[in-house]
């Protein structure tokens, strides 16, 4: 489903020359449909760059990223936008729309997809109920707690029934209870058939999951184990 083939990413310096920071070095791996993969590494190891490469927000300096068999380099902007719409994203800083209510944040994703108003009115309350935010539908993100904001981000990621969920440090700002809740939800989503990519530096979560673990250190893959542990 997603394949990295000898991907190197170097952020150029301000002068524009390719002599800046090397974030990823010849990274290769493949994620198959329905997998639950944890990508682990210290902060600054290159995890977020991986997410940005999958979303087409960055281009690799060398190598190729394939999404469903197609090289992202060959995709035009419309195709990239389609890929982004097929991915549900959950982030440490939630990336919510602050000027829109809880309901509108979830509805926005369906509106971007071009879904009809009737379908939106039917689906959004369902997802909000599932995630436990039905009573806060008219609140704005700043009126929610950290855990509620992350649940809203998950509701938003789920509403279009995406094939892939990318969770980039989804528990970074959460207390242990909310952390457990988010990980539980991700497992459920995976069991329902979606591919889940979890990028984290939380040792405990990864060790409890007992799923495939890709360990990145200084931009290189150190280990890729089917039922791995967080070992750095």
């Amino acid at each position: 489903m997603i394949k990295f083939d000898k991907v190197t990413k170097i952020y150029p310096t301000r002068s524009g020359k390719n002599s800046g920071a090397t974030v990823l070095q010849e990274v290769s791996f493949e994620i198959k449909e329905g997998e639950f993969v944890s990508i682990v590494g210290k902060s600054g190891a290159g995890k977020t760059t991986l997410t940005r490469l999958i979303l087409g927000l960055e281009e690799p300096s060398a190598g190729s990223v394939y999404f469903k068999g197609k090289n992202m380099k060959d995709c035009d902007m419309q195709e990239i936008q389609r890929i982004r719409r097929s991915i549900g994203g959950i982030y440490q800083d939630y990336k919510l729309l602050p000027a829109r209510s809880v309901y509108e944040n979830v509805a926005y994703i369906m509106e971007v997809e071009g879904k009809g108003q009737r379908e939106i009115k039917k689906e959004v309350p369902k997802v909000l109920e599932l995630i436990g935010l039905k009573d806060k539908a008219n609140n704005f993100p700043k009126e929610l707690s950290g855990g509620e904001q992350q649940r809203l981000a998950i509701a938003r990621a789920l509403v279009n029934h995406p094939d892939i969920i990318i969770a980039d440090e989804p528990t970074g700002n959460l207390d242990p209870y909310n952390t457990y809740e988010v990980v539980y939800l991700l497992k459920k989503i995976n069991e329902a058939g979606a591919t889940v990519i979890l990028l984290t530096h939380d040792r405990e979560i990864v060790n409890k999951l007992g799923k495939r673990v890709i360990t990145i250190v200084d931009g290189k893959i150190l280990r890729d184990e089917a039922a791995g542990k967080f070992l750095i």
């Binding site: 979303l55 927000l57 902007m77 419309q78 936008q81 389609r82 890929i83 982004r84 719409r85 097929s86 991915i87 994203g89 990336k95 919510l96 729309l97 602050p98 000027a99 829109r100 926005y108 994703i109 509106e111 971007v112 071009g114 009809g116 108003q117 938003r156």
Partner: protein, 305 residues
């Protein structure tokens, strides 16, 4: 397509009403800049009035020999009009008319009346008073040359160009300076106004930088992201126009009598009413076009990152 369009409009209206502070600030800045441009438009009216008043005061007179008949002079007038497109007005003054005008002007002077009686006949010459479209000295010079060098020379006694040359030059340089100043001030003010509006819209959108990033990540198309900001630009422009138009109407009505006291014959309110469509074009055009283009450029910068 239609659903997306209505959604974009709804987002714009929603964002506009939810960010009231920023919206009002943006409209306020637009109103100030549009009013500055409106002031320039009024200045243009005053300057035009002043220059036309000055230009109306300059003309040259071709005096004809006593031997030239009225028909000869009228032929010269017709041919001159055909030869020179610069002539705005040309007026025939006969010997008798010249005498009447002379008496009206100098009727009180017993010395001049006595002198006329001594001469025994009307000593004044028939003439053509000529004024050009923009008071350019070179136009007067060329008309003067035509009168003195072509077939007309046999009828023409003399042309008053040389004795009035200095006055014509002076007035022309004053009117040219007024026009040049207006043009330079206009260009500078327009550039400043564009920069001020652009920066205000940039600050308003800066607030939504994170939001734009999120919209990109979830796969919204560029137009779905950009549309609401551009429509907000239109709303800012239209509202600022309404305020400015009403202010201009009120202002021109209130100060009209004061301006007329300084510039007799110039009616600011009437100037506004007769040129209302230019005011609409500039106020609405500037507000909407600069608002929309600024929004487009600012959002594009965030989308390109």
């Amino acid at each position: 397509m239609f659903t997306n369009f209505t959604r974009v409009i709804n987002f714009a209206l929603q964002d506009f009403s939810r960010n009231k502070g920023i919206s009002i600030a943006a409209i306020f800045v637009l109103v100030i800049t549009i009013m500055l441009l409106t002031g320039l438009l009024f200045f243009h009216g005053v300057a035009n009035y002043l220059t036309s008043q000055l230009q109306n005061r300059i003309d040259i007179t071709a005096y004809f020999k006593d031997t030239a008949t009225e028909q000869d002079i009228l032929n010269v007038k017709d041919q001159l009009l055909k030869m020179s497109s610069d002539i705005k007005n040309i007026e025939y003054v006969s010997k008798d008319q010249a005498l009447v005008a002379f008496n009206e002007k100098h009727g009180n002077s017993s010395v001049l009346s006595k002198a006329l009686q001594e001469v025994g006949k009307n000593p004044l010459l028939p003439s053509l008073n000529i004024s050009t479209s923009n008071g350019d000295p070179s136009q007067y010079e060329s008309i003067s040359n035509i009168l003195q060098t072509s077939d007309f020379a046999k009828f023409v006694d003399h042309v008053s160009f040389l004795e009035r040359k200095d006055t014509i030059n002076k007035i022309y340089s004053i009117t040219s300076s007024i026009n040049r100043f207006g043009l330079i001030a206009g260009v500078i003010l327009l550039l400043v106004a564009i920069l001020v509006v652009f920066n205000t819209i940039k600050l308003a959108i800066e607030n939504s930088k994170q939001e734009i990033e999120t919209m990109r990540i979830v796969g919204a198309s560029d137009w779905f992201i950009r549309g609401p900001f551009m429509i907000q630009g239109i709303i800012f422009g239209v509202l600022a126009f309404v305020v400015c138009f009403l202010l201009s109407l009120l202002f021109s009505y209130l100060v009209s009598s004061q301006i007329s006291a300084v510039l007799p014959g110039f009616d600011a309110f009437n100037y506004f009413l007769t040129n209302w469509w230019i005011f609409v074009l500039i106020q609405l055009g500037f507000g909407v076009v600069v608002g929309v283009i600024s929004s487009y450029v600012v959002v594009k910068r965030y989308l390109d990152v």
